[in-house]
């Protein structure tokens, strides 16, 4: 089912986010913590850089031979007793899952959040088919109760404070208490969800990696909800993007080492599970049927494109946690499923470039995302490429086009550019009236609406001082 993207309202949404004190508090508490944790994990792992190199090369290799690995995986998974399905589009993928649920005469479906599931609109499709959908990740449980979308790919309820969660649980869990401690909130959810795991007819999950040579599905979680979702119901369905393949478990080991460190600053997540086929003779648990849906939904188009490196993404969210723009506006402003730098590249794939045209501009090209990406995706280059496309396809608003066009004329003529920057630097100093920061830029009020512009230093432009040997 197609989900509604509101990425075309980015500006309003970002502006609104800046004015929400709860959101600002939640963002501040969490992103600072995650940055510090990643930095510590990085410092403690001497081989981080060489592992990151290997991780990046593994992903490149798989994309270069994706057809080989898809077929190899299909053969191995089928031999292990899985049924492998293929979906060209998001709608096709959802239809396959809904049909499988119907065939299983399912009433209740438990689900582990997967980014692909969110991307293809699976929650909406399951609701639309009249199934009782139970989100089992704590954060998704919160979002489901609040009717919210995930605001972060790893910590989807990052936008919620404990006070807000407490309010939601008070009613939904039927105890009527106002819980203040986070630990008690977690316990409240544990009790509410335990019964559902046993009631479910179908469990739906995603995959962090698909292991080509063994046909295994690898998931990593901290809560343990994935295993309860995958083991208890009679039918288990996995949905995964075709880019999730890795050659073998040893290759997965390399990626796992950078994934948990980049995402949460951990050496390893609490649970790393490799599932290879359904219940076997003599087994006392496990599903009777295991289905794997391999989903294209725009990926093959990206593969042929300059933007192909985004297919290496392992959804660790490091780029998001380190993005100064995300840190200010949070996830919902992006109006889609993916946020921050990776979201600015993936949302145009999942929605359309026209819908997502403001996202690549919500970037200062500071490059912190590139520095932390565990698979070395050149995010800022991809964002620049998208900006060019937006320009070429004339998707930019008129005044901006006009202004950039003028700027383009100027920068192509070095002498004119130097003259123009000399004039504007001096003009800005006059405008600033001696203050160090400019609160509102002339002719570009939007830029300074939520940030200040440093007043140019005295002594002329960089080029003038450079020529004088000052620097």
């Amino acid at each position: 089912m197609t989900i509604t993207y509101t990425s075309d309202h980015f500006k309003e949404q970002a502006h609104q986010a800046l004015g929400e004190p709860n959101l600002q508090r939640a963002l501040d508490r969490t992103t600072t913590l995650l940055q510090a944790r990643r930095a510590r994990a990085y410092a403690e792992f001497e081989e981080f850089e060489s592992t990151r190199d290997a991780a990046s090369r593994i992903k490149d290799h798989v994309l270069r031979h994706l057809d080989h690995y898809l077929e190899r995986f299909e053969t191995a998974a089928t031999a292990a007793g899985c049924k492998v399905h293929w979906a060209r589009t998001a709608d096709e993928a959802c239809a396959i899952v809904v049909d499988l649920c119907k065939a299983a005469r399912a009433q209740t479906v438990t689900r582990v959040k997967s980014m692909l599931g969110e991307e293809i609109g699976l929650p909406e499709a399951l609701d639309g088919a009249g199934l009782e959908r139970v989100e089992t990740d704590l954060a998704e449980h919160i979002n489901q109760l609040a009717g919210d979308r995930p605001s972060h790919i790893v910590i989807p309820a990052l936008h919620k404070t404990r006070e807000e969660v407490s309010e939601l649980f008070r009613e939904a869990h039927g105890h009527g208490r106002r819980i203040e401690e986070v630990a008690e909130l977690v316990q409240s959810a544990r009790l509410a969800l335990r019964e559902k795991y046993f009631k479910a007819d179908v469990g739906i999950s995603g995959a962090n990696f698909l292991i080509a040579d063994t046909g295994s599905v690898c998931t990593v979680t901290n809560e343990g909800n994935a295993e309860l979702t995958m083991e208890l119901p009679r039918v288990h369905i996995v949905t995964a993007g075709i880019e999730k393949l890795v050659p073998s478990m040893d290759h997965a080991a390399v990626l796992l080492r950078v994934l948990a460190r980049s995402a949460l600053g951990m050496e390893i997540t609490q649970y790393t599970t490799f599932l290879t086929g359904p219940r076997r003779p003599g087994d006392r648990d496990g599903p009777e049927e295991m289905h794997i849906v391999l989903v294209d939904a725009g990926r093959t188009e990206l593969l042929a494109d300059e933007l192909a490196p985004i297919l290496k993404c392992i959804r660790c969210a490091a780029c998001i946690n380190h993005c100064p723009v995300y840190g200010q506006i949070g996830g919902h402003a992006y109006g889609g499923i993916y946020q921050g730098p990776m979201g600015s590249v993936l949302t145009p794939m999942a929605a359309s470039l026209a819908k997502a045209k403001d996202l690549p501009h919500a970037c200062t090209l500071n490059g912190r995302c590139v520095d932390v990406c565990p698979v070395k995706i050149p995010l800022t280059d991809l964002i620049r490429t998208l900006r060019e496309r937006i320009w070429q396809q004339q998707l930019t608003d008129r005044p901006t086009r006009w202004g950039l066009g003028l700027w383009g004329q100027v920068v192509r003529r070095p002498a004119l550019y130097r003259l123009a920057s000399r004039i504007s630097a001096r003009a800005l100093r006059v405008w600033a009236r001696g203050k160090p920061m400019i609160k509102r830029l002339p002719l570009d009020g939007a830029w300074t609406k939520s940030r200040d512009f440093p007043t140019p230093e005295p002594g002329g432009t960089f080029m003038e001082r450079y020529r004088r040997g000052e620097r």
Binding site: R64, R194, Q270
Partner: protein, 216 residues
Amino acid sequence: MSARDTVLARVRRALGEPPSDAKTIEAEAAALVPHLNEVRPRLDDSDAVERFIEKATSDRVTATVERLPSPDALPTAVHQYLDRGDLGPRVAAALPPILRDLHWDALELKDEIDRNEAVALSYAEAAIAETGTLVFPSSPTVPTLFSFLALHHLAVVRADDILPHKEDAYQRFVGRALPRSLVLVTGTSGTADIEGQNIRGAHGPRYLHILILDAS
């Protein structure tokens, strides 16, 4: 054209070049992980068991560990754990016959696990020193759910089965048929979903107690 053929055709079109043969691709893949020491933490010469204990009991993994001189000491150790926590005599146990046949008389061992079980005892076929991780391959003897349903998880592992790195543990299972589920457990069920605060006992165990059996 079927969805399968369409997706594969699109991939091939996107890649342009004719596909390499499987042998070449596999050689290339193998060359990507040639020097394992560049892609994993170097473990200094410290003994794997000691490193495992250090990691498992760290403030990030939060397990407790007890080292037993021989398998015979297992029933008493379990009994004492239950006594300390005032948990009663009942334990859902998934153990290989040789441990199941020890003298468990003072306890109530049962082979099934309930949905709100208090204590589960299960056998890990291997452990990983690198991260303080237990490895549970599913089998009729040790079903996966024994690692997830109870609030207290007691795990038994032999000292000889504690291996340095992830790859060493995989090596035990790859090649022979991979178990239906291979679960790597590092500590207890946790979440950082509310304000990034680490909380234990989200859906699975809140306490993990590891009993290491030295060879007798």
